[in-house]
Assembly symmetry: D2
Homo-oligomer: 352 residues x 4
């Protein structure tokens, strides 16, 4: 494999750049007979679109998905599902400013080192825009997971250093931040204005939960469920850390505090985040991703050009202040892809 | 793939259980002509063995590796390298106590759910003993990385809530804790005694660095270097979190604090942990793993048996107090496997 | 993998049905910096189009390929190459005749058994039209192989039981049959008219040669070069047999007749078809594929409907008389994909 | 993948050389709860051992398989199954004669080209002895297939140009040639003596059938059942051709002769060899492999040494006259591996 495919049995392969004709992909391995429509997928794509407030990108793509194959009379046929999202706003901007410059925190430098040159238009393949294909793939996975009653829900846990104080899942879809705590929103808005005014950007933490996941998913010893989740989430641009259940806090705890005791009514706690020995336990899956601030700043930054000469760069204010909240549906999509894959693998046992 | 293979081109496949005949595996894809001997591998295996102090396991395996194929006249032939480590201390213990009981924090419950039954002897395939095969595979990867001057070094960053205060790489191999700070050792020893006396166990954090890694490694968009590192490390038993560079701290920082500026002398900082856009930048790779406390406690714990009846269990004091430091060479091995794989993939470009 | 991807490092993934929106795919793993254009690919696609004479399909697609990503300023960027060919002639024909009937020799019956239902429009995913994506993928592989001077040439060796009597590579592109023997063409044309007049169809044999292939390609013990070629060619619809070098004739020969002796000037013969122990020897690769007659006949055939009731079917004269010659560029494409993949894998050795 | 693994979900990975410590491998992906023992596997291994008559190899290995993991209390646990067969007869022969010489028809030349050097002892990894691991893997696959009632039977169809005249499956295991026609045996024995006396060797054709295979196996468009069978069989040393059902004969037939008509009682013929559109139809699977003569001759042959100097070689009479019959159980094993893999993949549909 060469990096553009995700999964072992339920497999998403993607292509596309920020300022080419568009983005798309292929989902293979999806069982036949699953209800699927462009409208179903579009619902998830729309959640990822730039909104008002935190996101100030001027690019306003409609991101309309087109299903090209693999669906017949409203159901998956079991064959490859091709899809495409045309880039609408790819007007010939002037890239001469960044063409020969390595933007700090971006992949410009490493793409040049890896490939010898790069498509410099808007980041090319390394652009966050690549994630639209992940959302499409993830929503196809969710069409399948829906038939089993599995639900995935992500939300912003922390933004700009300010953490939610309560988690009310009913609030999440009511606000643009995907916040489970409506009271934290004014604080986040203030923080954003503060940082925006100085041309800076913010990081945060997203928590993803999966409900109604059957026990038995995961393939030790390398393809454990937690290992694949970490792989899936860390592969999303801007993510710099992944943790399961109690996560990094385990380092400070005792075994008697991190073990989840069992009673005849089930587990008494969920420090494990729903995964024991790399296999789902039937409890909720709980995983968190740390999201770094957007590297494109309104501030002047030091860097070099492709010839190694020192230059200054100021990327400008067209970009988002944070990858949150737009990254939230992307992370949900990745968890969906992992779960769909493991369910199909587990079916080889004849269990469900 | 079904979970017992790791890698895409440089591939480790493993087998073996805690109390079967032994553990072993196959490395395929290793280039020919690499110097390799059992003695070279044994050096790494010995680092993983239970020691005195923190580790109180009574099991004292010699863990002697035997190379079964793929090496001829001291060099790899390019064909599959088979290896085996016999289990020496697999005397017929009495497992009736745990045969029908789900030990809290262990994989007993989930293995039963996944496979319908399990090899209950010492955890079977889910035992930490499985990691000896990882160390062998990783040391073969290191034999290859050595030819390119790439060095991997892991160390204990935090144990029982007590963090090192300085990092002196020269100290690491001088002490049993793989500590880069000799002054923290007495504090750790006290903490261990304290916890041991109440039958409890400790977690911690391990940091792994790779030096002299060429720029260009990683295969976007899914097989990014950081994604594969997260996958590799999270798949090691006891690891509950993985972070790269600044890691979870990015959530509280501004973009101007997390970007690494470039000068004609290179990067001015390494918040990225040596990875930009999922591709190595030529800076040191820096990654951390959170390690949960050993789940086998000297304390009485609540659980259920395979029939769902509530029982109490006290596993006893034969086990380690922490997976640290024995996990340290295992995590090094995993990083070595990831790097060897990406170097071979990158060679398709004809770059090096 | 679930069947829509081909290759290990240089990987083609395809999607699309006969009468959906179109066909397309993704090529990943192609090295960066390879010159590539739609015109280059189109040249190969045009060779596959239905022609006059042998092919009597009324469908006249232009099959114009559109490159959607992975190429920038005329060169591959090293990232995923997406492509699409719109179906132009997918007018709403009346499929009620075949909707509920299993056409003999087609995949209707098995698709229903596998997936529970099928896209019955023109065969859906099982249509020979699927091979346009293979030709695109293969031509991208050839763009890469061209940089190494590797040439692949296929031709019709036998049609309707009449075999060529000489092989003149210069003739192949001068005639619609891809025949290396211009004198056999009138005989083939007579045979076609003969068979056409009774509503029947013809099979044949295609031979594919690859020139200037470096020694060392192939990955024993399972991914031998011959094994992958057999896999590649047998996976093309209508192919029922594959042989290398002397092929099935080895069954009647002695070892002294099938061994290729070596002199200081190289091999004295090429019974091996350029492959020894599953690895290319530097000689020409020679492989043949047996192509079955088109199963859609002008004659009445017995079959059953989806309810198991016996019916008669007469598919009509719109179809080709033979998959030859249209299959010829498809088989070339498959060989190109195999060679590109193995070259990239072999590069891990640092050999070339 | 690097060539030592076979399969996508049910995966065999092998290692080992002719004159190293032994041969072995790992089977991953096998469902749990399948009855499996060393005795069951040994039965198939014993069929592959050199016998009297046709086979004149002096090497008399016992080939005793040892199961190292993955089986507990007589059943597979669902985890990796490790196995090993020690080389017993690896006494330090004098290899100086062939060390620097490329034996015609062997892989000596290409291994040197690929890897830079080779383990010259008895062919190393390229030795036919490698197939013992295939037989073990295949027999584990058969343990699984047995639970579904699937039976695989191979037999010698042709030897030294003499074809069987009838196929009586009951005869096969009664004679050393795995012949389904007892009357052909004296002819074969005469032919062998004839050829042996002049230091030459013989090829032949093996036919493999699989019975009771469910419809629906195969993953278009690349991983068709016939494509994977061709890949599996062509990857066995000595095989130079593979055909399905009517095979190469389709080239001379009309569509009305190769289509299999359907009635309410099922198919009226089996020209397709049980595979339509790359998917099993529920009919018997029928596949044939062409086997080249053993390249080690008692005759003097021309070749070169590793410096390119012309030399003569006479390998001597210790070798078999034909890879038949010893290859017969190996080809059965490969078919078993393919079927087990596809059944597990098909289970994702929830069909069986």
């Amino acid at each position: 494999m060469s990096g553009d495919s995700f999964g072992k049995v339920f497999i998403l392969t993607t292509f596309g750049e920020s300022h080419g004709y568009g983005l798309g992909g292929v989902v293979q391995g999806c069982p036949s007979g699953i209800p699927l429509s462009e409208a179903f997928i579009q619902k998830y794509l729309d959640l990822r679109r730039p909104g008002k407030g935190i996101s100030s990108t001027k690019r306003q793509e409609k991101d309309k998905v087109k299903l090209l194959s693999g669906v017949f009379e409203g159901k998956t046929t079991g064959t490859a599902i091709g899809f495409f999202i045309a880039n609408e706003d790819m007007r010939s901007r002037d890239y001469s400013k960044i063409k020969n410059i390595y933007r700090p925190g971006h992949a410009d430098f490493t793409y040049d080192k890896k490939y010898g040159f790069r498509d410099y238009r808007g980041g090319g393949r390394s652009s966050g825009r690549e994630t639209v294909s992940r959302v499409v793939g993830g929503s196809i996975a969710r069409a399948f997971l829906n038939t089993l009653g599995i639900v995935i829900q992500a939300y912003t846990l922390e933004l700009g250093g300010i953490r939610v104080e309560k988690i009310d899942l009913n609030e999440i879809e009511k606000n643009y931040f995907f916040s489970p705590d409506k009271d934290v929103i004014p604080k986040w808005e203030n923080r954003i204005q503060e940082v925006k005014s100085v041309g800076d950007t913010l990081g945060g933490i997203v928590e993803i939960r999966a409900f109604n996941v059957p026990a038995g998913l995961g393939e030790p010893v390398f393809d454990k469920l937690d290992a694949r989740l970490a792989y899936a989430l860390m592969g999303v641009g801007a993510v710099k850390g992944v943790e399961i259940g109690t996560g990094f806090e385990v380092a400070k705890k005792l075994g008697s505090q991190t073990n989840d005791f069992l009673t005849s009514n089930g587990f008494m706690s969920n420090n494990a985040g729903g995964i024991l020995g790399g296999i789902s336990s039937g409890q909720d899956i709980v995983v968190r991703a740390a999201v770094k601030p957007i590297p494109s700043l309104g501030k002047v930054q030091r860097t070099v050009d492709t010839k190694g000469r020192e230059v200054e760069i100021r990327v400008g204010g067209r970009h988002d202040i944070s990858a949150i909240p737009r990254i939230v549906p992307v992370l949900e999509a990745m968890v969906a892809l992992v779960l769909a894959d493991f369910i199909l693998l587990q079916r080889r046992m004849g269990t469900f």
